[in-house]
């Protein structure tokens, strides 16, 4: 159950204030999926009504109220000589109280599939009977809620990351804090939190601890990757290796690798610990493959998928599976979510590859080309009958600004980007199909939306 207040000001003695959209907003904000909204007037001269919002009809209602309880018709309530404890500014409003008696001071409204149940012509009104005034309605929503509305848990993960960083030695906390505060999409923790709401054992506190640990683990791998790739910037800031040297980068990566595995172990769910440990091993093994493949740059699709499945998709899959395991979800649900995460992770990486060739992404173009990072658009362009020979020739030599610019132009002029976009969208469709095979306690729309947004962001 959640509670709120609807506040508004009226400007006329009698006024019908349509509050339907305000109630809808309150429902959306609460995450109520199905249940009831309770509305209650907090005033004795403010009523509630459900009727049609048609101006002439509202004028009829006002006329009706005035006819039944006309102002100045000799109400005893207005005889201040006989009343006790009256205020200096006591209004003459016996008519307003009597009119309110004809209306209601409260209403119960139904909600289904997250929507306020109203007939085609129905609107909800707060009826001012003694305006103009500042007014309040109490509102409570009760029923089945979306387990983890996206806004709140995200904040909790940020708080947990900050909390953990506060207890770490400054030599390691400071570089990690810079990386954490630089942002990032936080997709992996989001997946943990969402899937942790699926099973019968929904524990948001443990879910946040796991989500933050997974984010630390991801960042630890990034810190080492940046040294390996000789990257100078990440998330718009200097990498740890560039800013503080490789020795510090290795130590910081190791510290948060160890700390994350400890935090996960301390949650005390062996299935979760194992799922994340397997993913971490896959990441490290694929990173070795990735570097090895640079000798045959840009490689082929099969090698690309093998590397991406380990480097990126494994932690997406583990995030989904570990959240579900934490909540004691059924094994078929865990496995469906693991497959969903795997497909989403590959699609996510493909979308990320396309950013390198997008002038509107806000990131420098051609960075992956310059650093010879595995990239599916580049693989497809190199295989292209028209531009392929020139792409391969350029990649075989040293890559200065001119060469990188020419390669990105060639990729953009080929059908590589539409092919990759289509492939990523097909993977998302497949991921969504995985969700259709199991019961997800109302979280399916959120997971579908998250998957689609992860790919749409750049295309």
């Amino acid at each position: 159950m959640t509670a709120a207040r609807i506040e508004f000001a009226t400007s006329h003695p009698t006024e019908f204030v349509d509050i339907t959209d305000r109630i809808r907003e309150a429902i959306r904000h609460s995450g109520l999926r199905s249940g009831r909204v309770y509305l209650q007037s907090l005033h004795t001269t403010l009523g509630i009504a459900v009727n049609e919002n048609e101006p002439l009809l509202l004028s009829d209602f006002k006329g009706l109220l005035e006819r039944i309880a006309p102002a100045g018709a000799g109400y005893e309530h207005d005889d201040f000589t006989r009343r006790v404890d009256i205020q200096l500014d006591e209004p003459v409003n016996g008519h307003a109280h009597c009119r309110q008696l004809l209306l209601s001071a409260f209403a119960t409204l139904l909600v289904e599939d997250g929507r306020l149940v109203l007939g085609r012509w129905q609107s909800v009104f707060a009826v001012e009977l003694d305006g103009p005034r500042h007014r309040q309605l109490a509102l409570q929503v009760d029923g089945d809620f979306v387990r983890t509305p996206l806004e709140v848990p995200e904040t909790l993960v940020e708080l947990e990351l900050a909390r953990q960083l506060r207890v770490d030695p400054e030599a390691v906390a400071s570089p990690m804090r810079r990386l954490v505060e630089a942002g990032g999409k936080r997709l992996r923790p989001k997946l943990v939190q969402l899937t942790a709401g699926i099973g019968p054992r929904n524990d948001p506190v443990r879910a946040v601890e796991l989500a933050a640990a997974v984010e630390f683990l991801h960042n630890a791998t990034l810190i080492h990757d940046d040294y390996v790739d000789e990257s100078t910037h990440r998330r718009g800031r200097p990498t740890v290796a560039a800013a503080e040297g490789p020795e510090r980068a290795i130590a910081v990566g190791d510290y948060y690798f160890a700390k994350a595995t400890r935090l996960i172990a301390e949650i005390g769910n062996p299935g979760v610990t194992s799922a994340v440990a397997v993913a971490l091993e896959a990441i490290c093994a694929s990173q070795i493959d990735d570097v090895a493949l640079r000798g045959a740059y840009p490689g082929d699709r099969e090698s690309y998928l093998r590397v991406v499945r380990g480097k990126t998709a494994s932690l997406f899959a583990a995030a989904c599976a570990s959240g579900a395991l934490l909540s004691d979800a059924a094994s078929e649900v865990v496995e469906a979510l693991r497959r969903y995460g795997d497909l989403l992770g590959i699609a996510f990486q493909m979308a990320d590859d396309m950013v390198d060739f997008s002038p509107s992404s806000g990131k420098p173009m051609g960075l992956d080309v310059r650093q010879r990072v595995l990239s599916l658009p580049l693989i497809y362009a190199a295989e292209d009958r028209v531009v392929g020979p020139e792409v391969r020739r350029l990649l075989a030599g040293s890559l200065g600004d001119n060469e990188v610019g020419r390669v990105t132009d060639l990729v953009a002029s080929s059908d590589a980007l539409p092919r990759v976009r289509k492939e990523a969208q097909d993977l998302i469709d497949a991921a969504v199909r995985e969700l259709e095979t199991v019961e997800l306690d109302g979280l399916r729309p959120t997971l579908i939306s998250l998957a689609r947004s992860a790919v749409d962001r750049n295309s």
Binding site: D168, P169, E247, A251, A258, C284, I288, V291
Partner: protein, 125 residues
Amino acid sequence: MQLLDRELDRLEGLWSDGLSDTYRDYLESVDHFDAEIQPRLALAAALIEVGLRLQGLGARAAPPTTLLMGDLCLARGSRLLADNAPLPVQVAFARAVELISSAAASEQPAPATRRLLQGSLGASR
């Protein structure tokens, strides 16, 4: 030995390059565990020690390809612990690596890795 073969995938070269000796040394520290998991835990400890050494933690940074090999050693050791070690041992290992790496980041001398990891194996006693 089948277990070792499986767990040494991609790391075969390290076995003859000191990992086997380290593993044997750790076997002496795991005799209080069930016989079935003793080799797994000894290998986990050996992989973590060798992994940290390969990375050059606390010394000069390893070149990228060697660092990645060290990362894989740590990850595999961690996975072996996750699948086989009691919770106190998992936590003790993680704390040992936290201690060594934070000392390295602070450019302070770290306690000897071998002693710390052997102590971690005793965390369940």
